[in-house]
């Protein structure tokens, strides 16, 4: 496909690219080497800001984990900005990937596009690849591989329930789930990983609390998706559940920041009584921030990744291949 060039494309230039790229890379590498060799080495004293964070972690925040104190305390406002950068990235993925979602249809792009295509090129018909892709997508949306009688891969249709497939059965080409060994291992480890993800944030003993905890929860969703197939996690990973949760996490972060401003004088300042360091309530309002961040990161990354995985196969007709 990529060897056939678009008729409007410029002629290929093969020589200038490696030469220019190598020259630029050499210049950048030289600048980096000159700059990085001047950086402080492993024997240098800690910067004053790092030492300050060490000094205030226990008395001001009751927090033994200094990195968490910086993330949700000293740099709380920066983390706030980064979190909403994450939200903006997730929204971009959602907008780009859901052109065919029903709720976007009020804009009518898909309908208008089909009408325009029919007017401009009424003879243009879908090729075999496009037909197969659309058929597979319709089947996937309907929840069964053999929908509409358009199955082309042959062989027995895959079972809707992966657990009903017996041991030693040859997997169908479009099997959604993996073998019983993988499914069993995934089901077992998912429980431990889920608890570990929550633990990372709840006890605040890990650098970053909600950030790594949220990433672990996203990993659990991906593990189950890979092992059991999309039909088994549809109830959990669906926009109607994850999007309100993500916005609840975002609102929670704003509330923690505003309460800090109202009750302690600055955004994300601690407004709760400090508990015993090392306990689940240690860190004061940092723990609330970390919990909201856990929800935000877990749901945001899950939405972004699954939006990408479930992106509609909105293939444009191939002008280079003859119709089948």
């Amino acid at each position: 496909m990529t060897e056939q060039r678009h008729p409007d494309a410029r002629p290929p230039h093969t020589l200038h690219r490696p030469v220019l790229a190598s020259a630029l890379m050499a210049a950048v590498a030289t600048a980096f080497v000159l700059g990085l060799t001047g950086l402080p080495t492993e024997g240098a004293p800690l910067p004053a800001i790092a030492r300050h964070a060490m000094q205030i972690a226990l008395p001001k925040w009751g927090q033994q984990e200094v990195v968490s104190e910086i993330v949700y305390g000293s740099r709380g406002f920066d983390t706030f900005g980064e979190t909403f950068l994450l939200l903006a990235a997730v929204l971009s993925v959602v907008v780009l990937s859901r052109g065919r979602e029903p709720r976007a249809e009020y804009l009518g792009e898909a309908t208008a596009g089909r009408r325009e295509q029919a007017e401009i090129d009424p003879q243009d018909q879908a090729d075999q690849g496009e037909t197969e892709a659309r058929s597979a997508e319709r089947a996937e949306e309907a929840g069964t591989e053999s929908a509409e009688g358009e199955e082309t891969s042959g062989g027995p249709p895959p079972a809707a329930d992966p657990d009903s497939i017996g041991l030693g059965t040859r997997a169908p080409e479009r099997a959604a789930a993996m073998t019983v060994v993988v499914r069993g291992a995934a089901r077992t480890s998912a429980v431990f990983l889920f608890v570990a993800g929550i633990y990372l944030a709840a006890w605040g003993f890990t650098p970053g609390g909600g950030f790594p905890g949220g990433a672990v929860l996203t990993g659990v969703a991906l593990l189950l998706y890979g092992a059991l197939g999309h039909q088994r996690i549809n109830r959990l990973v669906r926009p109607n559940l994850l999007e309100p949760l993500e916005l609840a996490g975002a609102i929670g972060i704003i509330v923690v920041g505003v309460l800090g401003l109202a009750r302690a004088g600055s955004m994300f300042a601690n407004f709760l009584r400090l508990a015993e360091p090392g306990s689940i309530l240690a860190g004061g309002s940092e723990q609330l921030y970390s919990g909201a961040e856990l929800v935000e990161v877990a749901t945001g990354l899950t939405i972004a990744i699954f939006s990408l995985l479930g992106i509609g196969h909105d293939w444009a007709p191939d002008e280079q291949e003859p119709d089948a």
């Binding site: 964070a53 060490m54 780009l96 972004a304």
Partner: protein, 122 residues
């Protein structure tokens, strides 16, 4: 010798840049950007390292010392570790945006070569 880490970060960044400049394949461009991101993580964590240091955690002090006594001890730089932590999460989300754009471009143009994305040609 932490200088080796710095030079490794510079090398990985330069390789990512070379990948972006040499290829017009959108997926390879995203991979190059991810390499450049990864080099930043390596640089930040390396800059945080201190010789004979411990993690910046104020728990488990030696006998006769309080957790507050650990404050002035040799620890890795927690501020740079914090930068690295948030950068990783943002990096994942931004990579997802780039990949979504690549998928949409591939579906529209039936190829992933940036040279063939001709809609904006004058």
């Amino acid at each position: 010798m932490i200088l080796a880490n710095y030079l490794a970060a510079a090398t990985v960044f330069s390789l990512g840049l070379l990948l972006i400049m040499m290829h017009r394949d959108l997926v390879k461009i995203v991979l190059g950007l991810s390499l450049m991101e990864a080099s930043c993580y390596l640089l930040l964590v390396s800059m945080a390292y201190r010789r004979h240091s411990t993690a910046p955690v104020l728990s488990g002090p030696p006998k006769g010392q309080s957790p507050q006594d650990l404050v002035n001890g040799p620890v890795a730089d927690p501020v740079l570790q914090n930068f690295c932590l948030t950068a990783i999460v943002i990096g994942v989300a931004v990579t997802a945006v780039f990949l979504t754009i690549a998928v949409r471009a591939a579906q529209h143009y039936r190829c992933v070569d940036a040279d063939d994305l001709t809609a904006l040609h004058g």
